[in-house]
Amino acid sequence: MSVDNYIILACVLFTLGAIGVLVRRNAIVVFMSVELMLNATNLAFVAFARMNGNLDGQVIAFFVMVVAAAEVVVGLAIIVTVYRSRRSASIDEPNLLKY
């Protein structure tokens, strides 16, 4: 199978994730969309690694997964804390930090 198909799939997934981040209000869903974007890039990395026949892209995909795991830990903690104080998981609600 050509590498093009993987890249197209990665692009579709990335765009879906980006649209999700932009249009959804629920913080959990936004978070999931971010994960989708990260994994889309992972897919692209692995596909390119396969195409080039070395392991560099796969190593980077591992790094992305580690960072994503760490991000989940911190991000979920923030979301839970905000939910506790505001009784809401809406991402538009906490907008005090502005001009």
Binding site: V21, L22, R25, V30, I91, D92, N95, Y99
Partner: protein, 546 residues
């Protein structure tokens, strides 16, 4: 020796031998300046505590300086005529690279004349002030200022370089400002002080430019080195230096066109007028010109300018001194027409001096009934008597023992030049014209002098207004200065500030609008990021195309 700067003295300048080091009594030369300076410091820093004995200390310091000056002149007379110049380096004042200016003093025949004048007349004026200022609550301050004036004046005439002279020059300017405006509760006195100060500033600009030009041309400011090199300098440079020095002298000596401050300076206490007018301050300009004579030797143009300025001022009646004969003499050396003008000015001087004497001392009393003129106390009259005797006796003594030129000859290097008209004829003509002036005055004012000044003709009115001197100054100097300053204000406020503040407003306004982007909504930030990323991609794609 003095003048240990980087400049090597040139050979072949006979009248400019290196100064002998100060020894013996001359080693205490600095005391001349230190004494009045100490008096000024004690009186002005000491404050009210010195109120009671301060004035006497002021008189004491200047009197000691006068006594010391007499000791010095006696010692100087004991030396051979060619060795009558001593120098004393006090400390290294300015040293920048190869350029050094020592704080050094120089006593020669010329300085000595001025030192005698300043200290003796100054001391008499101090004594006179004891009586004149007896009831003034601030008399301690007055004596402090007087001491400061004397110290600055002595520094001016004793300095051995232009830079140190400049210090004394400015010191005199400051002290005269403080003294003229001593009764500053009178608006007229405060205005007169300001006028004197500002008009002196005009001259000071000339002096500072002259010093800069001297430094650029000769690489040194020490009198010895400058004068030794003056012969080889180019004539136009010398002319410029000469004219700038003349401007300085005009300011300090109240010569045309900077003479207007001197009449207003009468607003100060009478001793101040005596100190400034008659005795010392106005002679500072004369000192500067005479001291700088090697510079004028190389430039006939500047020398002519000096003489013309002198004659014009004589015409305007600001100078009445014995110097007029010398000016006339110098004028005839320059040009016969200038000389004739000089003789006429002498005649006018004779006329108005006689008029003044007649109107003051002869005729019936003209004071109103409730005024009670009375004779002053001895402490005031005795100094006046001494000064009166001194001016007559000194004149006679100079006639009898030879004139001041031969005493100054080693400094000025001027010998009497033969004229087209013999000197005796010239003196005779001058004297005749002066006598005519005197007789016209006697003929006109012998009659009863009216109580109120008569209306007078056009010329009289013009003369009463100091020949519209203030109006001329107003039109020539003050108005253009206002225009200039208004223009500067416009450039400063509109153009410079406009640019600076305008750019600040631009950035501020831009920021105020841009910060609206910081809405606090995480999703709008995300949109901006996506938009930016897309833009980067598009640019990369477009840039890759060709």
């Amino acid at each position: 020796m003095i003048g240990n700067g980087a400049v090597v003295l040139s050979e072949g300048a006979p009248s400019l031998e290196p100064l002998a080091a100060a020894t013996g009594v001359f080693a205490y030369l600095w005391l001349l300046i230190a004494l009045p300076l100490l008096g000024a410091a004690v009186l002005l820093v000491g404050g009210r505590r010195t109120n009671r004995w301060g004035p006497y200390l002021g008189v004491l310091t200047v009197s000691l300086a006068a006594v010391f000056a007499i000791v010095l002149v006696v010692s100087l007379l004991g030396l051979p005529a060619d060795d009558r110049a001593v120098g004393q380096t006090l400390f290294e004042w300015v040293f920048v690279g190869g350029f050094t200016v020592p704080a050094a003093l120089q006593l020669d025949q010329l300085s000595m004349v001025f030192v005698l004048l300043i200290t003796i007349v100054g001391a008499l004026i101090h004594v006179y002030s004891l009586g004149y200022m007896e009831d003034d609550p601030d008399r301690r301050k007055f004596f402090g200022f007087l001491n400061l004036f004397i110290a600055a004046m002595l520094l001016l005439v004793l300095a051995d370089n232009y830079l140190l002279l400049y210090v004394g020059w400015e010191g005199v300017g400051l002290a005269s400002y403080l003294l003229i405006g001593f009764w500053q509760f009178k608006p007229s006195a405060a205005a007169a002080a300001k006028k004197a100060f500002i008009m002196n500033r005009v001259g000071d600009v000339g002096l500072s430019l002259a010093i800069m030009l001297i430094f650029i041309t000769f690489g040194t400011v020490t009198f010895d080195s400058v004068f030794a090199a003056a012969g080889e300098a180019n004539e136009s440079t010398l002319t410029w230096i000469g004219l700038l020095l003349l401007l300085a002298a005009c300011g300090k000596s109240a010569q045309f066109p900077l003479q207007a401050w001197l009449l207003d300076a009468m607003e100060g206490p009478t001793p101040v007028s005596a100190l400034i007018h008659a005795a010392t301050m106005v002679t500072a300009g004369v000192y500067l010109i005479v001291r700088s004579n090697p510079i004028y030797d190389g430039t006939a143009f500047a020398l002519t300018a000096v003489v013309i300025i002198g004659i014009i001022t004589m015409f305007l009646g600001a100078i009445i001194g014995s110097a007029k004969d010398d000016i006339i003499h110098a004028a005839f050396e320059q040009n016969i027409i200038i000389g004739i003008c000089g003789v006429l000015a002498a005649g006018i001087t004779g006329f108005y001096m006689t008029r003044m004497v007649i109107m003051t001392f002869f005729g019936k009393p003209r004071w109103p009934d409730d005024a009670h003129p009375h004779e002053s106390k001895p402490v005031m009259t005795i100094p006046l008597i001494i000064l009166g005797i001194g001016s007559v006796v000194t004149g006679a003594a100079l006639l009898y023992w030879g004139n001041i030129e031969s005493w100054l000859e080693p400094v000025t290097g001027i010998e009497e030049k033969p004229l087209a008209i013999p000197t005796i004829v010239l003196e005779g003509i001058t004297l005749l014209i002066v006598l005519i002036g005197v007789s016209i005055a006697i003929a006109r004012y012998r009659r009863e002098v009216p109580v109120l000044a008569p209306k007078g003709n056009l010329l009289t009115v013009a003369a009463r207004n100091s020949l519209y001197d203030d109006a001329i100054n107003e039109a020539l100097v003050v108005k253009p200065t206002y225009v200039l300053s208004d223009g500067s204000i416009f450039v400063d406020e509109r153009i410079i500030d406009g640019t600076v503040e305008g750019s600040a407003h631009l950035v501020g306004g831009l920021g105020a609008r841009l910060r609206r982007l910081q809405s606090g909504f995480a999703r709008s930030y995300a949109l901006l990021m996506v938009g930016g990323a897309v833009m980067v991609l598009v640019i990369l794609y477009l840039a890759r195309l060709p």
